[in-house]
């Protein structure tokens, strides 16, 4: 079997052990890296062969769960999506995602991000609560209406945009690109009627106007969600709303059944359970 070419890469990994360290320190590892190994593969190998105490998050290892977001060579990105030998032939620095507290080594505390996501009500809100709880039929939505917000549904909540945003670096109250994009996504969804509630959450001090279009969120996003676009469109909507320009679109209505349609017997939805 022919010899697979391996390149020795030096990894500088920023470690932090809350029981032992006052602040993070850099630890050096040397690894023989083959073409095709992602940064996540390399970190796994380091943990297996050299240092079992290295802590990091991962799950799907194919760029759809968002667990392995970290700062690689100064840029926040998904470790499983990044080919090591594409970035370097000698040295690679790996650190935890900035703008979040570090729990340990490469593991950031994402609870604040999930908290702000919850606070912007990322679900369909309708005024007819009875229909929402016990739906009688589907809501109509055309492909054109779907296209207006589909891009922003691809968000995997990895936190890379939050790490890249300069406003997130200093302003703890700023919702961040992910939450603002989800506000726009739900406000623009024709099935949703909760635009007013969400707009009040972001049209205040430390809200959406904290974005100054540095554009790094869109640059860094691993799924092409383009949060910068969503935020500017959100600002446009807020201005239009304030100046009472633009048409008020009616909320999507229930799609009436064809006259001779039959439905399968209704399956009762489980009782509504609130979050913990």
């Amino acid at each position: 079997m022919e010899q697979i070419k391996k390149v020795p890469i030096t990894f500088y990994i920023r470690r932090f052990d809350p029981a032992a360290d006052e602040e993070p320190r850099i630890q050096q590892y040397v690894l023989q890296v083959e073409k095709g190994m992602t940064v996540l593969d390399c970190i796994h190998m380091i943990k297996e062969e050299q240092d079992p105490s290295l802590a990091f998050r991962f799950s799907c290892r194919m760029g759809v769960c968002g667990s392995c977001a970290m700062l690689i060579n100064g840029r926040p990105t998904l470790a499983c999506n990044t080919q090591t030998l594409d970035l370097t032939d000698s040295v690679l620095t790996v650190a935890a995602l900035p703008n979040f507290n570090i729990i340990r080594d490469l593991v950031p505390d994402l609870v604040p991000m999930f908290g702000v996501h919850q606070r912007v009500k990322p679900y369909i809100i309708r005024k007819d609560a009875r229909e929402m709880e016990k739906p009688s039929a589907e809501y109509f939505q055309s492909p054109h209406q779907l296209e207006e917000f589909l891009q922003f549904t691809y968000c995997i909540k990895c936190g890379v945009c939050m790490a890249a945003c300069p406003t997130m670096a200093t302003d703890r109250q700023y919702p961040g690109p992910m939450a603002l994009t989800q506000v726009y996504r739900y406000n623009t969804d024709s099935r949703d009627d909760g635009g007013g509630e969400r707009k009040d959450l972001v049209a205040k001090s430390h809200g959406v106007f904290g974005c100054h279009y540095a554009g790094e969120c869109s640059n860094a996003c691993p799924k092409g969600v383009d949060p910068a676009r969503a935020i500017q469109l959100l600002k446009r909507d807020l201005v239009r709303d304030y100046l009472h320009l633009g048409k008020d679109h009616a909320c999507a209505r229930i799609h009436p059944l064809p006259p001779n349609a039959e439905r399968k017997p209704k399956i009762e939805a489980p009782p509504f359970t609130a979050g913990a």
Binding site: F16, L150, M168, G224, D226, A228
Partner: protein, 145 residues
């Protein structure tokens, strides 16, 4: 769950500066901020300095003689530079932040194109106009005046 001590990993003001491997728009953002603060600082002085004219030609000429010193000439150019950049980049930001230059939402297909790609021609035009104005201003201040 046992509560462990966490390390605050916010970047602070350094996070405004970026550094390496960031897109150009990130740097335009920080230069825009610095220029804005610089112009504001200058303006605080300018209100008082230009008001000297109400005291008559002698006071005005004295003030202008002080300001003819090369350091102030350089300062004049720096302010002009800052104003030209901030005004033109500001125009670009107005168009972007009101949703005109960011394009419509489109389904992401790899390699992803974002609103940054859509606004790039605008950014180039704006930077070229700013460069032309800055050169013209520099010529005016240092060579022709």
């Amino acid at each position: 769950m046992r509560e462990t001590r966490q390390f605050d990993n916010h970047l602070g003001i350094i996070g405004w500066l970026g550094g390496g491997r960031w897109g150009i728009e990130r740097y335009l953002y920080i230069i825009h901020r610095v220029a804005g603060l610089g112009i504001l600082l200058f303006f605080m002085m300018h209100i008082f300095e230009s008001s000297v004219r109400i005291f008559g030609p002698e006071s005005w000429d004295t003030a202008m003689d002080v300001l003819a010193h090369p350091v102030f000439k350089l300062g004049e150019f720096v302010v002009f530079f800052g104003f030209a950049f901030h005004a033109l980049n500001g125009l670009r930001l107005i168009l972007i932040e009101l949703g005109f230059a960011v394009g419509k939402a489109e389904e992401p297909v790899y390699p992803y194109r974002s609103s940054l790609n859509v606004q790039r021609p605008l950014m180039i035009v704006v930077m070229v106009i700013a460069a032309v104005l800055i050169l013209a201003g520099g010529m005016n201040i240092f060579v022709l005046d």
